[in-house]
Amino acid sequence: MNAIEMKNVSKSFGDFAIQNLNFELPQGAICGLVGENGAGKSTTIRLLMDALRPDSGEISVLGVDTRSPEFQQVKEDVGVVMDEAYFPETLNARQVGSIMADTYARWDAETYDGFIRRFDLPPSKAFKNYSRGMTMKLAIAVALSHSPRLLVLDEATSGLDPIVRDEILELFSEFTRDEEHSILISSHIVSDLEKLCDYIAFLHKGRLRFCMEKDALRDEYGIVSCTKTQLANLPREAVCGVEKSPYGARALVKRKLVSSALQLDRPNIEDVILFLVKGEKQA
């Protein structure tokens, strides 16, 4: 079963539109949703949590259509973390726990208290006085304390220092050790996603450019460093993006479409994305 399925989903806001989005997240997998600011990542997340209605297309989460009345029950199985905590700032961790206990049927106060201790969060301090890292940890503690099967994380690691980010990524890895657990995480910190994810989905200007297994993606492309003359001799359809300098050029190419004699470096995900965006601008 797929944890998330989006079929031909479109949503228009006048000056911006999600266009014909097709996307699947298999159960047990972690998918990173990458894209620049304004690419449509948060809109996609709002669509799949039924906080926004699509103009067309179908969305199902954990096997249930998001427009059906049963989806209300499915929200019990989804832990959501946004780019900030989004709780009224005068609340403290203890009050948040008390509110969530009346929100989620499977709320586990012991698990929550365990996270509060593990994250060293002061339970009686209003969380407006927390650091950003502490705020995000509180939001993550809430998301993980009602036995979710799916975590939906919207820029949950942005603005955090590398140590806190690493600690949080480790927690997400722990979560997916259960094969029924899945994560959709949006971020523009590609290195985080590369560390954590099985799949990478790249959203650009409201369109899904690709959604592939991380390793398959890195295998599909290669980076060639060459002179401008060598670049001109490469098959046009093989070149996805070019970076020129006074000394030569670097190009992202499709491995299958170039000669196997050509010396290719294995790109990281960030390389692939940057070259693809450049390629689009150059086209």
């Binding site: 709002r46 039924d50 209300q72 029950q73 929200k75 946004m82 009224p88 609340l91 049927a105």
Partner: protein, 204 residues
Amino acid sequence: MKALLKKDIFVLIRQMRLFLVMIIIFSVLPGVNMTTFAIVYCGMLPYVAMAYDERSKWTELAAMMPYTPGDIVLSKYTLGWMAIGFATVLSTAAHLILGRIFPSAYSLALSEVFPSLCIGFIMMAVTLPLMFRFGVEKGRLLFILLIVVLACGGGALVQGMVGFDGEIPVALNTFFSLGIPALAVVLTAISVPLSIVMYNRCSV
């Protein structure tokens, strides 16, 4: 809905201490005007809670949690009804107890408190759908406009009906004792589903 009410109460107790003290003071001061003030203040608490929700972006998060639109809308009405009920009970108790000590000051009949309670309900019923549709910022302006129109219009109407001799006509008395409660019930019955529609329209 219990969770949402709890959240609003936590926030209001923390942020609105002075406001809550004023409600208590107005409730125990003698006279129907003071009671009406307290009730109108209580009727405004849902807007205050909504303003804090908007500021913290709670509304966005709540849309992704297992709350139905009905839960979200009804929690604000319930908060207002509970607050109005609290002010009414407090005012009634103050008049009953203090009326024995200061009979001349606390001469308010209990029947005079009831129309104030209904006015509080009517005020919420009329304004909350606007708040859910336009947000607290714009909704508040419409609320002020509505209060001015109602106060001026109602005042002029009552003055016109009472006349120079100061005698309250039977029709006006009947309106206060039957018409206002009926209006409160009818408007509330329309207002709650209307607010749910407005809330849904806003989240589309």
